[in-house]
Every structure is written in structure tokens, then in C-alpha cells.
Symmetry: C2
Subunit: 440 residues, 2 copies
Amino acid sequence: MVHKIIKLAVTDVRFPTSLEQHGSDAMVRSLALRLLEAHLHGNFPTLQHRDPDYSAAYVVISTDVGLRGYGLTFTVGRGTEIVVCAVEALAGLVVGKSLEEIISDFRGFYRLLTSDGQMRWIGPEKGVIHLATAAVLNAVWDLWARAEGKVGCGADPKQIVSCIDFRYITDALTEQEALDILMKAQEGKQQREDQMLKEGYPAYTTSCAWMGYSDQQLKQLCTDALNNGWTKFKMKVGADLEDDIRRCRLIRQMIGPDNTLMIDANQRWDVGEAIAWVSRLAEFRPLWIEEPTSPDDILGHAAISKCHNRVMFKQFLQASALQFVQIDSCRLGSVNENLAVLLMAHKFQVPVCPHAGGVGLCELVQHLILFDYICVSADLNNRMCEYVDHLHEHFTSPAVIRNACYMPPKDPGYSSEMLESSVHTHQYPEGDVWKTLLNK
Amino acid sequence: MVHKIIKLAVTDVRFPTSLEQHGSDAMVRSLALRLLEAHLHGNFPTLQHRDPDYSAAYVVISTDVGLRGYGLTFTVGRGTEIVVCAVEALAGLVVGKSLEEIISDFRGFYRLLTSDGQMRWIGPEKGVIHLATAAVLNAVWDLWARAEGKVGCGADPKQIVSCIDFRYITDALTEQEALDILMKAQEGKQQREDQMLKEGYPAYTTSCAWMGYSDQQLKQLCTDALNNGWTKFKMKVGADLEDDIRRCRLIRQMIGPDNTLMIDANQRWDVGEAIAWVSRLAEFRPLWIEEPTSPDDILGHAAISKCHNRVMFKQFLQASALQFVQIDSCRLGSVNENLAVLLMAHKFQVPVCPHAGGVGLCELVQHLILFDYICVSADLNNRMCEYVDHLHEHFTSPAVIRNACYMPPKDPGYSSEMLESSVHTHQYPEGDVWKTLLNK
């Protein structure tokens, strides 16, 4: 059966999360909050960079036989319309092709999208155009899995390798090495799959300690999380040192000495500043410092960093500049590019701890980390996947957490489909939620 | 006098340069050419990535006193509409401010544009959003120079330093170091200025050897260039090794053993491939190999590379991974960020040889390289600025070349204003040029 793609639709979907300071860190502050403040105070306050409105460029591709694929990339409010514009620019490369044509040369299709002679200039493979590529390819992977009635990506080593563009990384990982890794990991695969179905994949929570939360709120959330079996916690730092010390102390008291604490500075510091700041927080024993400085700064060596493509990850690994690899289902070029990074991480023996949260990142990334455990690394040591307890209710197959573990998804596809009603009401700026907020 | 910015307009301007294979290299092939082929052959041929349509997101900011500032960022066709969308997203941060307010804290204004809490996510400082930032800030610099009746950027060391955002680069260059460099270069400044006015700044030409040119065309262009005093030539390589060898041999024969030859692979190779390929071309003694691999690959060390921001330049310099610094007036965050790179290049004692060509890059970058010589490096050794002889006729103050040197511009501003008629006819897709092409 051939699935010809006849349409690609993209929607600017925004959730006014900033109204409750969910997702607040040292760098973001939202339109929604500023609109509210403007309403309360009668004018627009200065930007404070505190609160994001979790958003997505949401892609639906339709085929002539009725099957659809859903994909998205995560954004934090303003600028989503630019990513939508970029998705529209890529649509012409997708519509008219069949799914079968795409997967028969998925590497070629990946390169078609990322190496279009003219659009390459405005990247390449970074920023807006790469986020758009991720949204489009995520929808293709979802369509593929649905067409085959499978969950997430398949597991045939040769087919997996044929999806990866090795351009610019062959000095770190060749196609043959990738194939060898995958072949070797065939051993014990069934046991690991069974184990995952039973126990799930270990997760950590970032829901307890956003920057904008009050101490009272933070305490309550920690208590609840501990009661629900959470043992690993991440908090946001970087806006004010004394405040960070107080909040680190508080959360360490709440979770006790044996649980795990991670901190995330969201690119707040210069290299020297990061070293000084972090040494003051060392007494709270964070396992890692996430994004202490510019995500472009390999030599400024983050302990853990969200890279924008496989070439950046390659260098961080080659330079021994990160101790944990933090993949992202929506910033990298979909499953294709994440596969390259998972394989490189395995070769360099660095544990993978995916970034998640936002809108849909948990839903998508669980497929990647399960694949990593079952088909690549066969290792759970020092590994865990981020979890944030927001906005899952908008998805048709939301992520399921049990005992602080991701339980493997059961529905065919990439878990990337949103409820139609959610998309409809949160469309920006014409959905009801935004009409109400903007008219206030 | 206060200049309040009351409007920011942006236009998608495209020149169908691909019709004549101007600008063809190993990675681009244009819409215009494909449209023409489609017209000739009755169908759309496969992408070949050969020819760009030189384009720009062209910004005009208007003030309440009638003065205007003009700015642009250079693109190569498809995708320009995405940059236009990004400029529109930034417009709200500019309109309503006065020029005086901006320049009194230019560093703060730069950071406002590059660190907006939500839009930062879709960069930061890279790809589409950074190109848009460049276009907007280029217009602000043009407005500033016009308001003061000056050419290019001023030269007061303290004011210069106040324009630079040192975030993420203080481990390589502090504000004090920058100030010291500029103060020291005050010595001999007048002589260098006079020298430039008399002799101009040395240039090299990329107009003779685009990939799509025939041998006959190449020979004729080399002959003409030699007759016009050119001594330094750059050619495009990377599509086919045997063809490169033949073309390198031909151009080396044409220009003789004493003139300078550079080669540019436009990110075509993997690291190993680059080494193998370039060693075959070594007999033609290229001075540099430009962009052999991914522009993100610091450890894959390009000899010369177009970086997308100051953080990438910093690392290339720290890692001794480039032997020439290739600034770009439209890919970096305008004069502000180029200043940071010029100062770092000086500190690390690496010569600056700017990227130019495209649309308007020569017009803008001449200001930067003159500033570098007069106010920073005081050095012409191993330094030259790229020149490409296309599309200058669309500017109100086109770059002037005499004896293969850039002659200092004389009109107030940043030389970034296009002729209204050129903008009008080349607007995409509604300008006459495109209406005709698209209806064929």
C-alpha cells in the first residue's frame, strides 16, 4: 500500500503557561504574563525574561488513503510564527511524495530538507529552519509508525543506519561503526524490552522548582513528588546567587541527602562567572550543571548541554566537554539526527539523559530513550529522562509515569498527536484562549 | 535633536542571479534556474544545489523627523520570506524607541534584540533570527551615521566598547582589554586614514571563477581582471575533484605563479574527505581553504570559516582552528558583534579577511575593514577584503574599486540604501522581474 502525502498543515499553538510561572527560568518571561500585567497596571512593563508560554509549531500531514502523521517542534511563545513560516517553506519538499518513497531513501530525504541549496543559507541545520525540519520529520516518523502499526521507530539495524546523514560526523562515527554498535546490541534486546514494559525507564522531575515558584509552593511540590516515588530533582538557577543558595538549601533539605539534585542555568553565565557561581552551589552536591553558558561554547565546556545539531554534539564528545548527553526530540532533526547522537554517545561512552518537558517533548523523547536502552546502549547507569508534569492532557496518547518511570507507550505512532479541541482553542492568536487574553 | 523611530518596513528582494550562474558553488542551485528549466523542459528537474538567487531582507526604519536608516541581511533565495517574518517579529522592539535612547545603551539594545526571553529559544544568536537581527541593527547603524553626517561607525574607543555585548566572550576578551586595544591604536590613526583615502583597502576578486562558468568565460574574466590590476583570486571547488584539478590548473596558468589563489569549498566535505581532496589541490598553492566542512565544526578546523556569532569565532580563535578570520556584515549581529570579533582577532593576532559579495555585503563590510585597519589592527599584512562584481548598481552609494582596492565611501551612512526602483522591481514575488519569470 502506498501512502501519498497530499497535504501539510501547520498551526501556531500556544499555551499561556506563564500565567502560573510554569517553566520560568533565568531567561524567559512571557507575553501572556506581560499582557496580564499590562491589564493590571495599564501599561507594558519592561521585559524581565522570566516566563515562557509553552508553544509548538504543530504539523499534520495527510495522505491520500486517509492516514495522517502528526509532528511538532517546541517553542516558548513569540517567534513561533517564524517557525510556522519556515515549515510552510519546507512543505513543498514533502507534499507529493509518498511515505514509501521517503523511507526507501530516508537519508536522502533528510538531506533534501536540510541541504536545500537556498534555504541552507539561513541555517544550516540550526535555529528556526532546523526546528521546522524537526517538526516536519517528526510528523513523517509518526506517519511511518502508524502506517506499520508500530510504536516509535523500528529496530532493524540496517534500516536504522539508512536514516542517518553521516555528513560532517564520519571523523567521529562511520556508517560501519554505527551498524556494528546496533548489531552488537541485538543481544539481550528481548529481555530489555520486557524489562521496560514491566518497569519503565527512569525519569527525573523538573516540575518542583521553577524559578517563579514561592518557597511554600516548592515545599508542597517536593513533598508530593517524594510521596509519588520521585528520587531525582532538577531546579533552575542563575538569576540571583543568594536566592539560588537559599532555594538549593531548601530543596536539598526537602529531598534529603541521598536523593539526586541537578541544576540548570539556562545559558545565563560567562565561563568565569559560571565557575564562580557554581562553586558557591557545590555544597548542595548537584549531579550536573546544565547549560552554564552559551550553547555554542564547546571550549567553555558545559557539563550538560542542549546542542542544536549532531556536529555540535560530535565536538562536545570529541573535546570531552560534556559528561551527559542531553538529546532533544524537537531541536535536532527528528529521529534521524537523534539516532546519530545516540550512537556517538555510545561510542564515546557518555550517558544520555534527554531534555523533555515543554509541550510534547516527554511524549516524543520517551521513544528515543527506550530505543537507546533496548537497541543501543543496553545501559541504565547514570541515565534518566527528564519529566515535567504539564500539558500532557492535550495529547491523544500522553506519557505515562509510574513510580517515577516512563512506561512504554502502547499506541502506534510517535505519541505526537494533540487533541483537536486543544489545538483549536490554543491557536495563536485566533483561538478562544488567546482571544480572551488579548482582549483583556 | 531626537530621532524617534516610528516605522520599520521590511521587503523580500530577490535578484535572479542564477539565470547567469553568478554565485554558483558546490551547494546551491536556484529557483530562477529551475523555473527556467521547467519552462524549457516542461517539468521541474531534480534539485542540483548549484545556483543562488542573491536576495535580501531589506529594512527601512523611519523617524518622526524624516530621516531614514537602511539595512539588510543577505540571503540566497528561498527562505528569505522566513527572515522577513523574523524581522517583523523584532520590529516591536525597535519602533517607539529613539535613536538617542538606543545609542545611549547600545549594548542593552543589542541584548534586548538577541535575548528576548521567548525568541531566544529559536536561536539564540544563530540562523534566521540572527540574520534578522543583523538586518535591523544594520539599519540602526546606518541611521546613526546619517544622523551624525558621518561615514560608517564612529571611532571614540569608549563609545565603541559600549556597543559590544561581551556576554560569553569575557574568557577570551574583557571590556578593559578591548578598550586598551582601541586606545593603543589611536596612535598613527590619522596617517592610516589618509593612506586609505589615497590608496584604498586591498581586495581580492571572486568574480572570475564561479563553478557554473565555462572555461572560455573563466579565461576571459581572468584576463580582464589582470588587466584591471587584480592580483588575488578566489575560486569555488568541491563538486568534482577532477573538474577542480582542471579548473585550478587553468586559473593558475592564467594568473601566473606570483599572484594569489584561494579556494572555497562551501562546506562540502567531511573532515577526512577535506584532507584528501585538498591534498590533491595543494600543487596549485592555494593561500587558504575556505569552509572545507560544517561551519559548526571547530575541531574539524577550517582554515577560514564564516562563523555565525562571536561565540563561535571565540572558540575558533582559542583552538587555533583558523588562520584567517572571515567576518560578515550580515550574518553576525551587525557592527556591534563584528566589533567584538575584530578585537578578538587582533588579540589572537589572526588577520581578518572579510567575506563579501552577494547583495550589499561589499558595500557594508568595507566600513568594517577600514575601521579595523584605522582603529584596531593598524596592519595590512596578509589582509584583503573579498570583492564580487555584481549588483552594485542597485545601491545609492555603491562600493568603489580602484586598482583592486576598496576606496573609502564618502556618503554619510552605512552604504546600505538600495535604489527604490530596484527594490520595487525585484520584490518577491510581486515585483515585475519575478512576475515575468514566474508566469513563464
